[in-house]
């Protein structure tokens, strides 16, 4: 990958209490895309995440208080857009995403013309497993999104995504604040943007435990479903109210 190409790519890592995993994630990204700018987004962690990131010399944005995933990721998108980056790839800070997949996502972003590239967990590689309720949730949303997006999407809940500058501009202005992945797809589809999927590996968490419980999965389904339909209605209303140029 050339230096010119690397200068247009920003890798963002949303993190909350990831002091045990974050240094390893940064190191793995440096090995996968040497020279690419890495920006950690800290959601007001209570542990030593910030000091670990500073110690390894990565750039960091620290929120003044906890916003949740959507608000955190949008901060990265806003900053990336204002700094002029052409592509942004999001890698989670818990070590589940394999940074070795970044070059393929980046390549697909650059060559396909799609506004978003999703790193899709299509098979259980390296021991990645998900719970029954969550698996059902993913299946459910695949079925819901199929007619909305007009094409199948294998892994709509994946957080391993890359976006180009056009999508960055949209997300910098408006981004779902809770559970953003699925709603973000709908937001892009309503603007006739395209997405592609690239198969990626998924590792078990390096440290800590997932906060996703059966009850939270159920809440997630209801919340996201509502968000999807609100996004559709909002866009239709805006489109109907728009005056012809």
């Amino acid at each position: 990958m050339s230096d010119a190409a690397i200068n247009e790519l920003l890798v963002i890592i949303p993190a909350y209490n990831e002091e045990a995993a974050i240094a390893g994630v940064i190191q793995a990204i440096r090995e996968a895309v040497p020279g690419a700018t890495i920006l950690v987004l800290d959601d007001c962690s209570k542990d030593g995440t910030v000091s670990v990131v500073r110690a390894v010399g990565a750039e960091i944005v620290t929120l003044p208080h906890h916003l949740g995933l959507g608000g955190l990721v949008q901060t990265g998108y806003k900053l990336a857009f204002s700094l002029g980056y052409q592509y942004v790839i999001r890698v989670d800070g818990d070590g589940q995403h394999d940074p070795a997949d970044i070059p393929r996502i980046y390549e697909r972003l650059r060559t396909s013309g799609a506004e978003m590239v999703i790193g899709s967990r299509m098979s259980n590689v390296d021991g990645w497993k998900t719970g029954f309720v969550r698996r059902m949730g993913i299946q459910f949303f695949r079925a819901v999104l199929r007619p909305i997006l007009g094409r199948p999407v294998h892994d709509p809940t994946s957080g391993f995504v890359g976006v180009n500058r056009a999508a960055l501009q949209v997300f910098a202005g408006s981004f779902p604040l809770e559970y953003p992945e699925i709603e973000a797809l709908v937001v892009l589809q309503r603007r006739k943007f395209r997405f592609e999927e690239v198969p990626v590996k998924m590792h078990p968490r390096r440290t800590g435990r997932s906060s996703i419980t059966a009850f939270k999965s159920l809440y997630y389904i209801v919340h996201v479903l509502l968000g999807v339909f609100v996004n559709i209605l909002k866009y239709e209303r805006r489109a109907a109210g728009r005056k012809p140029q």
Binding site: E59, V61, T62, L63, P64, Q74, K78, S82
Partner: protein
């Protein structure tokens, strides 16, 4: 029934006094206190005017006139709770935008500091 009406009147006056005290101490903003004052005023007026209450009850087909009070109080509560949710949602959006802006400005500030520290004489 007479006792229920008196208690409604007393409670309405108590809430009005609470709101006025909160206003005086700047614990509530004027725009949010107005609805409380109007709601309590309506409940007080209804509890003191059995003619109006009976008329509303017969119009709504209610056999027990004081149930109008419960209906009005319940309606006011639901509307105000909904309005509170709207206000909170707006404040949360504003709050998120502000937090993001602070974080981004702090990031730029840190970058400036770092670059001025690494360039001797730049800050002079």
């Amino acid at each position: 029934m007479e006792r229920l009406l008196w208690w409604t009147s007393v409670l309405s006056v108590v809430v009005i006094l609470m709101v006025l005290t909160a206003l005086r101490r700047a614990h509530i903003r004027v725009e949010y206190s107005v609805t409380w004052l109007i709601a309590c005023g309506v409940l007080f007026a209804l509890s003191r005017s059995q003619t109006v209450m009976s008329w509303i009850a017969s119009t709504l087909g209610l056999t027990y006139a004081p149930s109008v009070l419960a209906l009005v109080a319940g309606f006011i509560f639901v509307v105000m709770f909904f309005w509170t949710c709207v206000v909170i949602s707006r404040l949360r959006d504003d709050n998120i935008a502000l937090a993001q802006r602070v974080a981004i400005l702090e990031f730029h500030l840190n970058r400036l500091k770092t670059s001025s520290e690494s360039t001797p004489g730049a800050a002079q």
